[in-house]
Symmetry: C2
Subunit: 336 residues, 2 copies
């Protein structure tokens, strides 16, 4: 609003009656300045509303104090918590985050990374749209890159991903703990690694418990309507089912609907479990839905931490797996 040019260090120094260098030292807390002088400088800086120019500092130090965040799914609810975690971990005091959305387009991604490099970001975080592996872009990029959510296909890169196998296992263990033994799986798109891996984890947990899955895992789409349809089929073929593990909360909503229509009680007759812990869907369901939270904020924070380490000169190779956690609600309450 006030069209004033930003106050420079030179002006502060002049006002305080010292040289630019002294003013710099005073403001940066170097100890080579008399206390009274330092106070005078700080006073002037405050009066003039001095804000140090991070650009100039960056030019000098070779470090801009910024990182780039390249996302592919800004619209989706997965990137956002990750993004929050990243933003949170960097805290905006020392490091600011440039946000770009490449929308699944590799050309666009390349272009945006070019722009980020022009701004001399100290590092880049790439957030994928699915949990499937994605092509590495680290080659030829002069700053550290961390892959979040979708790991890089190059094991030498640093990635932070969600433990889908573990999530499948956790879910089944929870259902078993709730006294269930005839468990079926209704999940989403089979081309998603996430869907496959969670089914695998679930199978393993069942094996270890000496149980057998009811039928085969049914894959479909990540929608309510698929949840409804798949449930009708399932209950017709396997009326003995006492628990349904769903690939997402949305699918679980459909499952709940279909069960109610069929006159079945949840969790009395059948326990239902979702995935994502999408608060508004899970809590708002007729029977509040137990679900696996992917701890995506933590994933984002971890990615940020890894990037900071790499920037500091301690790069990390391989994939960090973030564990999910079961958020228990009514839909799986133990049989009493």
């Amino acid at each position: 609003m006030t069209g004033d040019k930003p106050v420079t260090l030179a002006e502060v120094a002049a006002q305080a009656g010292v040289s630019i260098a002294t003013a710099s030292k005073a403001l940066n807390g170097r100890d080579q300045v008399r206390a009274s002088t330092k106070d005078r400088v700080l006073q002037s800086a405050r009066e003039l509303g001095f804000t140090p120019n991070a650009l100039a500092k960056g030019l000098l130090s070779g470090r801009s104090g910024t990182v780039g965040l390249v996302t592919h799914d800004l619209e989706g609810r997965f990137s956002i918590p990750i993004l929050m975690g990243v933003e949170d971990a960097f805290g905006a005091e020392k490091t600011s985050v440039f946000l770009t959305d490449a929308r699944g387009d590799a050309i666009r991604e390349r272009y945006q990374i070019e722009a980020l490099l022009g701004r001399r970001v100290d590092g880049i975080i790439v957030v994928g749209e699915q949990t499937n592996n994605r092509p590495s872009i680290s080659a030829g990029i002069p700053v550290p890159v961390v892959y979040a959510y979708a790991p890089s296909d190059n094991p030498a890169d640093c990635s932070v991903a969600f433990d889908n196998v573990g999530a499948g296992r956790l879910s089944v263990e929870h259902l078993i703990a709730c006294g269930r033994s005839r468990i079926a799986i209704i999940t989403g798109d089979p081309t998603y690694g996430a869907a496959q891996e969670r089914a695998i984890g679930a199978q393993r947990a069942l094996d270890e418990a000496g149980l057998k899955l009811v039928g085969e895992p049914t894959f479909g789409t990540w929608t309510e309507s698929w949840g409804r349809g798949a449930t009708r089929l399932l209950m017709a073929q396997h009326p003995e089912v006492d628990a349904i593990l769903c690939g997402s909360d949305l699918i679980a909503r459909g499952v709940l609907d279909a069960l109610r229509e069929r006159g079945l009680e949840v969790p009395g007759d059948v326990a239902v479990m979702g995935h994502d812990n999408w608060e508004v869907l899970a809590s708002g369901a007729r029977v509040p839905l137990t679900s696996v939270d992917m701890n995506l904020e933590q994933l984002g924070r971890r990615a940020a931490t890894r990037l900071a380490e790499a920037i500091a000169g301690n790069p990390h190779a391989g994939v960090d797996l973030i564990e999910g956690r079961v958020v228990t609600r009514k839909s799986t309450a133990p049989l009493d």
Copy 2:
């Protein structure tokens, strides 16, 4: 990965056998360079992988080519489309976007803005969490500020907000066009200006059509469960209702549930309309839900445009209102 220091203009110039100044002119397309020389410079730049240092450029020009985006509701689904619109409008070619989340905390907001100013952003967009007015922060900020979603309480500021009154009107007009005349309103938290204003707009449209609202608008919370409860009350008191206008898609989902339980057909007996056009909820509903889309991406783009104008020296005062649009689905199909 490759720990090389970024290539500088000086290196390009040396490689091409010209001075720094000439190289600069060549790369920036100034016409004071012989074509052959220019080609040579461009060639060297490409070979060395030269990326101009935006920091240095910014230092020189006094314009950083960056803007700050301060949001308060990164988690929510309102900020995201706005954010996408902003990101889209700036396009990352000339201007990059710093993202910060103040999470509703004024102290934090102040702090983050300070950090942004330190990075010499050319302007700031503040995205509010509600549509209610919010305190202005423009005073003492040396760059233009645009308020998105939640307008500033200072009419001299530039704000871009959603036209809630208009949305209420649009909704009612749509319901009337679908042959409805006994319309009721179930909406959310009465402390939200959005809820009040949309009810006002709806009332006006009814008045103009010579119709009367069935009962009073019922305010509650933005939840499915409120939608269910309010519907039971409404249908008990006013069984003549032939349309229910809801404050959100989530509420509408509850309304649909309650109507189905009561054995009422949608839209045969009662038409239902939501707000937000939250795709996954609206399309996935048992009867796909007609809803008002707030065009938030457009809102974000408009905010970005306004900011760009202000940065260019053409500030704009007052509130731009973005109109919503009705997205028609089955839940309001005209009676046949």
